[in-house]
């Protein structure tokens, strides 16, 4: 049971994630744009942020860079999700401070394992 913030603009993915997280018993919330996302994280201090890369207005990369620039948010784990799953995108995400990186399309087991790793 964890507090999770989903930042995802694609409604269908968000719906699927909502279903999965509810079924697994996590408290979760969703926002559909990058703008104001860092403020929201500061306010709610989630245990984990599921963060899409390609977001309107502010990218997921910018959000993770801003989160990592704020020492108060050091305890927030960030799992990035992107359809651009190349090795270099993964390295870019991790270099900017993401704790994990998962390429879409991901399998349920893969997402669960990565979440469990970051929440343990």
């Amino acid at each position: 049971m964890a507090d999770i913030l989903v930042i995802e603009d694609e409604d269908n993915i968000a719906t699927a994630l909502d279903f999965l997280l509810t079924r697994d018993g996590h408290r979760h919330d969703r926002i559909a744009t990058g703008r104001g996302a860092v403020d929201r994280i500061r306010q709610t201090r989630p245990d984990l942020v599921l963060l899409d890369v390609m977001l309107p207005e502010v990218s997921g990369y910018q959000i993770v860079q801003d989160v990592r620039a704020d020492p108060d948010l050091a305890g927030v784990r960030v799992l990035m999700m992107t359809a651009r799953g190349s090795v270099v995108e993964r390295r870019k995400g991790l270099a900017l401070g993401a704790d994990g990186f998962i390429a879409k399309p991901f399998e349920l087991a893969e997402l669960r394992a990565e979440m469990a790793r970051l929440l343990s």
């Binding site: 699927a16 910018q62 799953g85 190349s86 090795v87 870019k92 900017l96 399309p105 349920l108």
Partner: protein, 624 residues
């Protein structure tokens, strides 16, 4: 001449002496007449006159004539002051000598101009052949390589001078093409496989007694299926997690089928992504080309799989944007764990927000390709760029794949004289050899290689081909060993592992006799690694310790230092105990030992092996 004149004058002198002697004899006999007195005076007078005349003749005629002749013979301009008594002969000789000097100078100048012109033409041809996109390989009548360019070296791993061309390509295609040539075709197309299984296409042409093979990379240029990939990703991204989540009313068999289909879709997009990500450009760009116009730290001579124009334009754009923010970025390269090397723009100051950087990448930096954005340029290079911080410093990081096989991206390698030096034989002076040296973590059987260097020799000459690599031993290097060869853990952290290094070295020394100083030591490391790496070294081996013992006897000292000192070969102290420094010294020692061995009647490899039995008690033979 001077002697003949001297003899002449001596004869006259003797005559005068005889006259004076006779007169004197008459005086002694009591003669008192005036005739006798006159004869005596005349005789003595003549004596003095002859001596004076000889002296003047010798000084003003004979000596200057001799000196003039010497000057004319040696091409010197004669000294006129010496020849002033020779009337017009002196000036005439001087004029002739000056005319000859002028013509000699003109001839020397003409030869020099011609040589310089030939050198310029040679350099231009080398440049054309080096940058000529296709691979070019020339072989002599026996099918041995006498010329190749950098592109050919990239396409054909193991390509080296004096190596048989048919050992680098599957021989069937080459033989069939040669048959078409011998049937009368001037040139013929062929498609062939390298021994590594890479398909190449090319054109084979008969030239003189040999062959010219022009090779093109067989990879087909295909349009990037980006739109299709995007659609696949979109559908799969929504489908797969939803399907995973659905259960209940759907029959299990159907759910399983849908899941399997979804899985297939996901796998297909992943492989497609991998294919596209590995699509680095086939072109090679030197680091200096990429860094043009940028402030740069000392740049190593590296070449990357990159398009020089577009990537340089992108780096210039990033540099300009950073300078507009008040930063002064400096370009450098750093080893990169995954992509071999990373380009780094580094400055003192605050980092760049990633979205600002992504915004810069929407511009098209290359005036030659106004419709290609920075992001597209990065995608074409299979890479990306991101900001990093390190205390008060910030940087932009771009991983980039190194070009295989070429260090400076330039050059042609050739020795056309190989074709005229007769067939290879087992004569020491005819062998194709690789002289090599290894640096290791220590001296025991459990120690590991940290550096390998090699130089190729063909028919008694260095070919200019070299092999040099650090090796990651997979364990810490003891400080005592680092003190000797100065190779640290940090230096080998990003170096190839033993398997990669030995596979590359195997390509370099295929077909060659291996030569090392104390070969059992180095061969021991290569052979102990066989089980681990699967790379076998069954080459014939020569040991310069053994060869030195054959020349100077076993009681002499045969260290590399002692041997090179005996042979008058200087090793710069900083090069000693580096793999390449010791390899160069060993190669020079081997070349100098060949005539010394021949003088002892040891001219062939088999004779070395036979003779090695005499030394077996003290020096091991590294041959299997």
């Amino acid at each position: 001449m001077r002697r003949r004149i001297l003899m002449l004058f001596l004869a006259a002198l003797v005559a005068a002496l005889v006259l004076a002697g006779l007169a004197l004899w008459r005086v002694v006999q009591g003669g008192q007449d005036a005739v006798i007195q006159a004869a005596m005076i005349a005789g003595l007078g003549l004596l003095g006159l002859m001596t004076a005349l000889w002296f003047l003749f010798d000084r003003h005629l004979a000596r200057p004539l001799e000196s003039l002749a010497g000057a004319l013979r040696t091409g010197r301009v004669p000294d006129l002051a010496q020849a002033r008594h020779l009337a017009d002969l002196g000036p005439a000789a001087r004029d002739a000598a000056l005319a000859r000097e002028r013509s000699d100078q003109a001839l020397a100048q003409a030869l020099q101009d011609h040589a310089a012109e030939t050198l310029r033409e040679k350099a231009s041809l080398e440049a054309i052949l080096a940058d000529f996109g296709a691979g070019a390989v020339m072989a002599d009548a026996r099918g041995r390589v006498v010329f190749y360019n950098a592109s050919a070296a990239r396409l054909l791993p193991g390509l080296a001078l004096d190596r048989a061309l048919d050992t680098l390509l599957t021989s069937g295609a080459l033989r069939a093409a040669q048959m078409r040539l011998s049937a009368g075709a001037a040139a013929t197309d062929l498609t062939c496989l390298t021994v590594g299984g890479v398909r190449l296409s090319g054109r084979l042409r008969a030239i003189d007694d040999g062959l010219l093979l022009i090779l093109r990379d067989g990879a087909v240029q295909r349009p990037a299926p980006r739109d299709m990939l995007e659609a696949l990703r979109r559908h799969a991204s929504t489908l797969v997690p939803m399907l995973d989540a659905l259960d209940g009313p759907i029959p299990p068999a159907l759910a399983q089928a849908i899941r399997a289909e979804g899985q297939g879709l996901a796998n297909a997009t992943r492989s497609l992504s991998r294919i596209m990500a590995s699509d680095a450009p086939g072109t090679v760009a030197a680091l200096t080309e990429l860094a043009a116009g940028l402030e740069a730290a000392d740049l190593p001579p590296l070449a990357f799989r990159a398009e020089a124009a577009s990537l340089n334009a992108l780096l210039l754009l990033l540099d300009a944007r950073l300078r507009a923010l008040g930063h002064t970025p400096v370009l450098s390269v750093r080893p990169d764990p995954d992509d071999q090397m990373r380009l780094v723009l580094d400055w003192r100051g605050s980092p760049v927000p990633i979205d600002l950087l992504e915004g810069w990448l929407t511009a098209a930096p290359d005036p030659g390709q106004p419709d290609v954005t920075g992001a597209e340029i990065l995608a074409r290079h299979g890479t990306g760029i991101w900001p990093e911080t390190d205390g008060a410093r910030a940087r932009l990081v771009m991983p980039l794949a190194l070009a295989q096989g070429v260090a400076d991206g330039s050059g042609v390698t050739y020795d056309f004289a190989l074709a005229t030096r007769g067939a290879a034989s087992s004569r020491l002076a005819d062998l194709t050899c690789v002289v090599f040296d290894t640096e290791t973590t220590g001296l025991t059987d459990r120690d590991r290689i940290v550096q390998i260097a090699g130089l190729r020799l063909a028919r008694g000459r260095l070919t200019g081909e070299r092999f040099e690599t650090l090796v990651n031993p997979g364990c810490p290097i003891p400080p005592a060993s680092t003190a000797i060869h100065h190779i640290t853990d940090a230096m080998v952290a990003d170096a190839p592992d033993l398997t990669a290094a030995l596979t590359a070295f195997r390509h370099f020394c295929d077909d060659s006799v291996l030569i090392a100083h104390n070969a059992p030591f180095d061969m021991g490391f290569l052979r102990r690694a066989e089980a681990q790496t699967g790379t076998r070294f069954d080459n014939r081996v020569l040991d310069t310790v053994l060869l030195s013992a054959m020349v100077w006897g076993q009681s002499e000292v045969h260290t590399l230092d002692a041997l090179t000192e005996r042979l008058g070969i200087a090793i710069p102290p900083e090069a000693r105990h580096t793999a390449m420094g010791d390899t160069i010294a060993t190669a020079q020692a081997y070349l100098a030992l060949i005539p010394a061995l021949e003088a002892k009647g040891i001219t062939r490899f088999e004779e070395v092996v036979a003779k090695a039995r005499d030394h077996r008690a003290l020096i091991a033979d590294a041959n299997r």
